[in-house]
Structures are given as structure tokens and as C-alpha cells.
Symmetry: C2
Subunit: 195 residues, 2 copies
DNA sequence: CCTACCGATCGGTAGG
DNA sequence: CCTACCGATCGGTAGG
């Protein structure tokens, strides 16, 4: 992963990486800069040679994820596949992110509330736009009779939240492999949508 | 709702209710006792005539929800229905909780990490037991050929997280009604499981 | 990258 | 239920 390499290469990258781990474990508000500094191996004051503020760390994590999501859905939109295939591709993308890039995904998904303005509004807009694009793909599938007649925005919420359920799987050191997990999820969700 | 009545009847009930709203909005750690006191309409120090600590409030919310969950799944287990019917009943229960008792459900689901020991361990155990009971129902349906061959613990995670997606629906003042929402969700999830 | 420190705010208590 | 206050900890800065 290019991103993971970057995150380990520089000190700022290390700070972002450790921060994501701690923000997931304890939450943004309950993680102190002194906790973070200890995990990085420096004094709290020294963090500020690499980052401007605690909130800037959260911004970096959230908007890096938003960019990955935007890039992906734009490429899926542009591809020549039917709607079921597009949805399956998006599901597999989200599952892969969850298993490979767990900490960042979790933080961007659950801790974005702690963003300050104007970043908060910006993030909420991007999030809403992503869901609208996803819903449009489902809507298209309904019109083309590939997908059962359901409320598309509701289906998007179900799909995205279902994927976030992998979080617990990740923690539980389950016996099932990542591949099996992915296939199980895709089967359940796709069969649920299909006519 | 008996519980809502109790929560409005006494001052302690009002504190728990306002706390659930604020813990959901800002998170447990980012909600101060002074914020909470203002919402209740008293001084921060006066809160301590009704509760022992900030953590006690979180405990009350989380364990009230755990009790509701336990009671429900025990009654579903004891009922004479096939596995698909049991799962549908549990799904409708969770959806109803999400639409009727949103704040408490959300806090018990997302903020329990901030519980102190021994409550934290207790809560995690109850949560794990609930999921095991749910998985056993799915497992039973697989053996009886009512449900496709999938990994039952994974299916439980998908179902429970999918339901939590209603959170965003709740916030978005969607055009779809609660009844339609419920039917859409049940249809997608049940069809996804069925053989 | 560290020592030394700031003002603000936190959860909670004493005493009435 | 309030005023007055406590020690601890917070994010962040000055200066080297």
C-alpha cells in the first residue's frame, strides 16, 4: 500500500498511524496528545513540530478516506458493468478497505463528528454525495429490472453499515478467513437485492 | 413506553434522557457535566444529588438496553416458530428499537467503550452472549435447510449492523415512512439469507 | 526535539 | 439545589 508506506516513512506519517489506532480504541475526545506522544515515542510538545493541532490529525485521516471513496465510486460509475456488478465491486472495495485499512476506515466513519468547521460541513457533504451516487446505481438497477423494487437510499444505508460489521470480526480473531468473509457478505447482500 | 415514562417522571429520569441525547450527539467523552446540567436546567454540582458519577449514567443507559435485548431474545428462543420467522421477529424488534428508542440504542451500541470495569467486562460478555444466541438461531435454520449455507456469526454481524444504518435515516428526515423502511430492510435481509 | 509552563476546563466535593 | 472551590488534566506555546 502506497499510503501505508508513506505513513511509516515520515514522522508525520507515524503520528497519523498511531493516532488512527488510538482514536479507534478510545475515541478522538478521550485520546490525549500526551497519550499519542507516548505511543510515538516523543514528548507531547514535540508533536507540534509535525502537526498543527489535534484536529488536523483527524482532518488528515477523514479526508484521505473521503478521497479514496470518491476516486473509487467515480471509476465504478465509469465502468461498463450492469448495476449488480457495480454494487458487488463497491461492496468488495469496502470490505477490502475494512480488512486492510481498518483503523482509518473506522475513524473516518465514527469520529468525523469531532471535525471543526469548515471541515465538518465539507466532510458531511462528501459523505452525502457518495451515498447519492451509490443510490443512483441501485436506482438504475431497479429501472433496468436487475434489482427488486426497494427504496434505494435505504438499501445504501443497509449495505454500508453491513460492511462496517466486519469491525467486530476483525477484533474477534474469527476462524473464518478474509476471503470467506467477503464471499459470505457479498452473497447475502447481493441475493437480498436481486430480483 | 414504560421506560420513557419513568425517564420523564423523575429528575434522575430526565438526566438520563438528556444525557442519552448529548452522548449520541457529541459522544460520552466530549459531553461535560456542565453541558448536561445546562440541558437539564440545574447547576453541574446539583447533578450529583441524583447520580453518583458521569459513568453511572452511561452504565444505566447501557445495561437498560442490555436487559431489553436479553428479555427479547429469550422470548424469541422460546417461541414456536421456524428460524426465518425468529430472525424476522428479531429484525423487526431491532428496527423498532432504533426508531422508537434511538438515543439509548445508539449510546449502548457506540459509547459502551467508555464504561469502567467491572461494568465494561460485564457488558462485553452480555453482548457476546446475545450474538451467540442469535447465531445459534441462524445455525439451526441452516441445519433445517431453511437458510443458505453461510457463516452464522458473520450473518449476525451483517444483520445487526445493517439495522444500525437506520441511524442515518433517522437523522435525514427521509420521505419514506417507518413502516416502509422496516419492510424494505426485512425484505432485503431475509431474502439474502433464504435458500 | 525538550523543559517549562499557560489558561481553560474537566469531574467531583464541601458546606449550607 | 446552589455557591465556592479542589486537584488533575487538557491542548497548545515560548524559548532554546
Amino acid at each position: 500500500m502506497a499510503k501505508n508506506q508513506r505513513k511509516k516513512a515520515s514522522k508525520k506519517g507515524l503520528i497519523l498511524k498511531k493516532a488512527a489506532i488510538m482514536f479507534r480504541e478510545k475515541g478522538f475526545a478521550a485520546t490525549s496528545m500526551r497519550d499519542l506522544a507516548e505511543a510515538v515515542g516523543i514528548e507531547a510538545a514535540s508533536l507540534y513540530n509535525h502537526i498543527r493541532s489535534k484536529n488536523e490529525i483527524l482532518e488528515a485521516i477523514c479526508f484521505d478516506m473521503a478521497n479514496v471513496y470518491n476516486t473509487t465510486i467515480e471509476s465504478v460509475e465509469a465502468s461498463k458493468q450492469n448495476s449488480i456488478q457495480k454494487i458487488e465491486q463497491l461492496l468488495r472495495f469496502h470490505i477490502a478497505q475494512m480488512t486492510e485499512n481498518y483503523e482509518d476506515v473506522y475513524v473516518a466513519d465514527r469520529e468525523w463528528k469531532h471535525l471543526d468547521e469548515p471541515y465538518l460541513s465539507n466532510f458531511k457533504t462528501q459523505r452525502s454525495n457518495y451515498r447519492k451516487k451509490f443510490a443512483a446505481i441501485i436506482e438504475d438497477g431497479i429501472h433496468k429490472n436487475e434489482i427488486k423494487k426497494i427504496d434505494a437510499p435505504t438499501a445504501v444505508l443497509i449495505l454500508l453499515h453491513a460492511v462496517s460489521g466486519i469491525e467486530s470480526w476483525h477484533r474477534s480473531k474469527a476462524k473464518i478467513s478474509a476471503k470467506e468473509l467477503e464471499d459470505n457478505m457479498v452473497m447475502i447482500m447481493i441475493d437480498g437485492l436481486r430480483k
